[in-house]
Amino acid sequence: MKVTLTRRDKIFLLIFFVVYAVVLIFEVPSVQLPEGIGERWIVDLIPSWGIMGRVNPMTVIMTWGIIVIILGFTLPIARNFKVVPNRKQAFLEYILNYIYQSTQDMITQENLVRPVFSIAATLFMFIVVSNVLTAFPGVQIVPTSQGLKVSLFTDTWYAPTSDLNTNATYAVMVLILSHVFGIKAKGFKKWLKGWFEPTPLMFPLNLIGELAKPISHSLRLFGNIMGGGILVLIVSYLIKYAFLPVFLWGFFGVFVGIIQAMVFSLLAIAYISAQVEEG
């Protein structure tokens, strides 16, 4: 890629960097570590229910926002599907084709490929949009000692995947679906027998192994997104917000975000395939 700059662009860039440097020098003493790192805005909707009556409003709002983004991108393509794709359709087809190929590689039963593909593709699209949102400045609400602090475009967007509730929901959903598919594919008796293999003595270990799956599945995504966010905040504070945060947002939001979304959906396929295949 060759970048050509006109004289006007060069003058603009020069002025931009000079202003940036001057503002930076004057702002350095007043930069503070933002309050409320790792805190969540929690509302007690039904106090008598205890922990079950709590709501995490930002997660709910951003989840619906991401659903709207995905529908707004995919519905016009799906309504108007062409044999010769335009750019957006080709992009979507490329992603979905990759997931379909990996589903076909891991699941040998023909009739189960399509449902598993739907689950994996849905998870991938939601998680990738939500992770990549953490690479852009946006709206975030954190509680501090003086009440709620709304940061408009001084922090990244709030990602639902940086909330363990979202990730745990999807991981438990994958666990239940994998057993439903297992019962469907092998039959109830064989599925039940699978718990007592190779010997009935192994039942507790099998049980713990199954229960550990959703924990590792959800904590992996949570640790990456949440830990990345906190790391960016602290490193940005240490260097007083000079140039580096943009690249850190890019690395943790786009690079790590896309890889983790891929890992989440591929592991979902792998867990389902482990239940479905006759061992």
């Binding site: 805190e39 990456n224 891929m262 591929l266």
Partner: protein, 84 residues
């Protein structure tokens, strides 16, 4: 910070120490694992340079799985720092 009793001060200090030790030791395993993955990917690319694209893709995927134990220790360290 000056009005802490001795027990509270020890508790605060041990919290930070625990977070540091947790993160430091927890990073050993993923470091070794990702090193192995990277080394073998390099071997594979050296043997068949035309397969570099798929190998790098799968290497990144395996890296992401290998670093999950490190992320557990990161989560534990963050809980120690911000929640406990």
């Amino acid at each position: 910070m000056s009005d802490l009793t001795m027990a509270e001060a020890i508790r605060e200090g041990l919290k930070f120490l625990a977070a540091g030790v947790c993160m430091g030791i927890g990073a050993i395993g993923p470091g070794l694992g990702e090193g192995h993955i990277g080394a073998h990917a390099m071997d594979a690319i050296a043997r068949q340079p035309e397969l570099a694209g798929p190998i790098v893709g799968r290497m990144l995927l395996a890296d992401a799985v290998a670093e999950s134990t490190g992320l557990y220790s990161l989560v534990v360290a963050l809980i120690l720092l911000f929640v406990v």
